[in-house]
């Protein structure tokens, strides 16, 4: 939202609003070091990701080292330092989905979008990640676009799903 990205220098410029928001969140948790994970959750839900500049700000507010904040951010897979795409695609790589062919689906998405896991397409539309079990094992293999769940996905469905989002018909669910 209030972040301007300078792609050339990989720098991020935080607006005054953004700074105020981060400070407000830190205050809400009483600047407690023990609340660091909750603070990161709250901040990421506002900005979508946690760039280095935001981590520096949080460290300053809580009066702890940046290394400590960075250490926690990189430890947990839920936190990300890269912005996600407009339509984040996550593929379940839990065992149930794996034995029902999730790996082929993953490769197909990579091929279609020409990105790897953890990356975002240059147009900012799609990002790709794999996650561990969404618990809909009856629908394996499962693919998520944002919070929309696609079950029993076949390799041939991938192109269709992606093109739907590209075309903008986002509410149309695919079904067998």
């Amino acid at each position: 939202m209030e972040i301007t990205r300078d792609l050339k220098n990989h720098k991020v410029q935080l607006s005054e609003n953004a700074i105020a928001l981060v400070k407000k969140i830190c205050r809400r948790f009483n600047y407690q070091e023990g609340e660091l994970i909750n603070i990161l959750h709250a901040v990421q839900s506002q900005f979508g990701y946690l760039p280095a500049e935001i981590q520096e700000l949080i460290a300053k507010e809580l009066d702890i080292s940046v290394a400590k904040v960075y250490g926690v951010v990189t430890f947990y897979s839920f936190f990300t330092m890269k912005p996600k795409g407009k339509y984040p695609i996550s593929l379940c790589m839990g065992t149930a989905c794996y034995v029902r062919g999730a790996e082929n689906i993953l490769n197909e998405i990579k091929r279609q979008l020409n990105i790897d896991e953890g990356e975002t397409t240059p147009d900012g539309l799609f990002s790709l990640s794999s996650l561990r079990c969404v618990g809909a094992c009856g629908l394996a293999p499962v693919l998520l676009v944002g919070e929309k769940v696609y079950g029993r996905v076949a390799q041939a469905d991938v192109r269709k799903i992606i093109s739907e989002y590209k075309a903008g018909c986002l509410t149309h669910p695919t079904k067998e």
């Binding site: 407690q32 070091e33 023990g34 609340e35 660091l36 994970i37 909750n38 990161l40 959750h41 250490g71 926690v72 430890f75 947990y76 897979s77 839920f78 936190f79 790589m93 839990g94 065992t95 149930a96 989905c97 794996y98 034995v99 029902r100 082929n104 490769n107 197909e108 091929r111 996650l131 561990r132 079990c133 969404v134 618990g135 809909a136 094992c137 009856g138 629908l139 394996a140 499962v142 769940v149 079950g151 076949a154 390799q155 041939a156 669910p173």
Partner: protein, 597 residues
């Protein structure tokens, strides 16, 4: 519920909601309102029924009719036929595969016949967002009994007598754990619920929290009373939004009813519960790592002792149990330790919940008495292998467990038997595999997971697992040697012996158990450079049988890299140079002309 003439229960678990269960619910509610029946008939969104394979599932009470694979478009027919005219909607009933006959209620379905539901007693029966429905099913009666009639020592004694053991996987006796924490002296103690379910393919704890959150709250309060703690914490995965939402609602309702907070039920007992969110780290299922994560730090485990019972959260004595363990507590208090210890085997009492998934007909959430055999679970409850294929292995215990072959099908499910067989109970993931699954690839899959999730603190786990994965990768690409197999075994044992916490100590299990049970398959990979299951891509080639190919051109159109050529109505050919071995052509071919060589 009793105020209504009929209740329509719609499964509100994640599985069913994902396949449009939520729209179905809305549709039923609005149709009932249209007909003016909303005062007579109630639609309830419940927790998971367990029969995820055929979701979304709908159950009608009081006649117990069980409808499967119900779409939003079927809502009108259910209301007009069943609710108004009293005629069952035949085509939505479950068809028993062996007889081909329709089964109208769940009691007569093989999937449910052998199940005994203790931890899941309320899942699929009550509206988890309404405390009154929980109370109506003996809810908070156990807490009232403990606070009013029993001393903490008596409660602990009862739990010990029941023989309940930790359902998170390790199987430590729950009563003993409570006793240890009770005996630790401190000004402040904590009760922690481990809801950081990280096994890929396991969703037991989430289903309990989504379907029956009050049972966990009640049990944590009882634990607080026993160990002398006034504060509880639930450590839950941030990836479980629905469970978090329902838990929050439940906590609020319990507070409003005076069942949480200060002076609970006028007994002078104070207890309240807060939520702490996990952020996606499998190792946080280990209790010391979990405690560090709750303190806002990296979730790295530390050496035990000291155990959390002595020094846990913020250095204070802490009792950590998992969701399913807690869910067993209220029935034990209500029905007595004798009833509970009468179920199960000599050393493993009660029941166990499993998330049954993989190549099985009835994917779902099940609860069976300890001592039930793997065969009963897979064939009677699970309905056998999908597509009539051959059973190959069943994996229990997730990344810490092992793969068991058909020789172990008659092994009773309990902590000791599974460990002896080379796997483990684990938290309850049970993945069934068929002849098409390559055991080297499965071992590699689990190692990839461990590699991702190793916290990096101790060398054997951080470096050892990486090297193990590399050897497996080499084997699966057709470059392995027999020497590699020896190295794989040796290093596996080193990682097991030398790692700091449970993650590293068990991570080589998938390798060791597959090597023990499928040695020939490993040999085929290194000696013949052949993958018997036809899954390792480097060793296979797709070919078209010219006698079967009709030249329909479908495969050449579906091929993403244009590797298939051929004239219309003439046999096609695959260019092995271009082929990326995605298998799309084989999946689509209607004449079974494409095979893997």
């Amino acid at each position: 519920m009793t105020d209504y003439r009929m209740n329509i229960l719609v499964c509100g678990g994640t599985g069913c909601r994902s396949s449009e269960g939520a729209t179905l619910y809305d549709e039923l509610v609005s149709l009932l309102a249209d007909k003016g029946l909303e005062k007579e008939i109630q639609v309830v969104s419940t927790g998971c029924f367990g029969f995820c394979e055929k979701g979304p599932v709908v159950k009608i009470l009081p006649d117990n009719t069980f409808y499967v694979q119900v779409q939003a478009a079927d809502a009108r027919e259910i209301i007009e036929e069943h609710i108004i005219k009293g005629r069952k909607v035949e085509h939505l009933l479950y068809t028993a595969p062996e007889t081909g006959k329709k089964v109208s209620d769940s009691k007569h379905m093989d999937f449910y016949k052998k199940q005994v539901r203790i931890a899941l007693r309320n899942c699929g029966f009550i509206n988890p967002e309404n405390i009154d429905e929980y109370v109506a099913r003996e809810g908070y009666a156990a807490m009232a009994k403990c606070l009013g009639e029993m001393t903490p020592e008596q409660v602990i004694k009862e739990i010990k007598k029941a023989g309940l053991r930790g359902r998170g996987g390790a199987g430590f006796p729950t009563g003993t754990k409570w006793e240890l924490t009770r005996k630790s002296e401190a000004d402040q103690k904590y009760v922690v619920c481990n809801a950081d379910e990280g096994d890929p393919g396991a969703f037991m704890d989430r289903s309990i929290l989504e379907g029956d959150p009050h049972s966990v709250i009640e049990a944590m309060s009882i634990c607080g009373y026993c160990i002398g703690a006034d504060k509880g914490l639930v450590y839950i995965r941030a990836e479980y939004p629905l469970a978090i939402k329902r838990l929050k609602i439940a906590l609020e309702q319990a507070r409003n009813y005076g069942l949480l907070g200060e002076n609970v039920l006028d007994t002078g007992f104070n207890f309240d519960i807060e939520l702490r969110y996990g952020a996606g780290a499998f190792v946080c299922g280990e209790e010391t790592a979990l405690i560090h994560s709750m303190e806002g730090k990296r979730g790295e485990p530390t050496f035990k002792p000291p155990f959390p019972a002595e020094k846990g959260y913020l250095g204070k004595p802490t009792n950590v149990n998992n969701v399913e363990t807690y869910a067993n507590i209220p029935p034990i208090i209500n029905k007595g330790s004798k009833w509970f210890s009468g179920i199960g085997t000599e050393k493993s009492k009660g029941t166990k919940v499993f998330a049954l998934a993989g190549k099985i007909n009835n994917v779902g959430l099940i609860e069976v008495p300890m001592g039930t055999t793997l065969r009963e679970v897979i064939y009677d409850i699970g309905g056998g292998i999908k597509g009539g294929k051959e059973f190959k292995a069943v994996q229990t215990g997730g990344p810490s467990g092992g793969c068991l072959t058909k020789n172990f099908l008659d092994t009773p499910i309990d902590y000791e038997s599974l460990t002896e067989a080379g796997s483990m109970m684990g938290s309850g993931g049970m993945i069934v595999m068929d002849e098409d699954d390559c055991m080297v690839s499965i071992a590699k899959f689990y190692l990839e997971f461990t590699l991702d999730e190793s916290c990096g603190k101790c060398n054997p786990c951080r470096i050892g697992n990486k090297r193990l994965w590399e050897i497996l990768d080499k084997i699966s690409k057709g470059n392995g040697t027999k020497e590699d197999l020896n190295r794989l075994k040796l290093l596996s044992n080193v990682v097991k012996d030398a790692s700091l916490c449970g993650l590293g100590q068990t991570s080589p299990n998938p390798i060791l158990s597959t090597m023990d049970n499928f040695w020939d398959e490993y040999l085929a990979h290194v000696e013949d450079k052949r993958c018997p299951a036809g899954q390792c891509k480097a060793m296979m080639q797709y070919v078209i049988d010219p006698n079967k190919c009709t030249g329909c051109t479908l495969c050449s159109r579906i091929c993403p890299v244009a590797a298939i050529e051929g004239e219309r109505k003439k046999p096609h050919e695959i260019d092995p140079e271009k082929c990326i071995k995605c298998g799309a052509c084989m999946e689509k071919c209607k004449f079974e002309a494409i095979s893997v060589a």
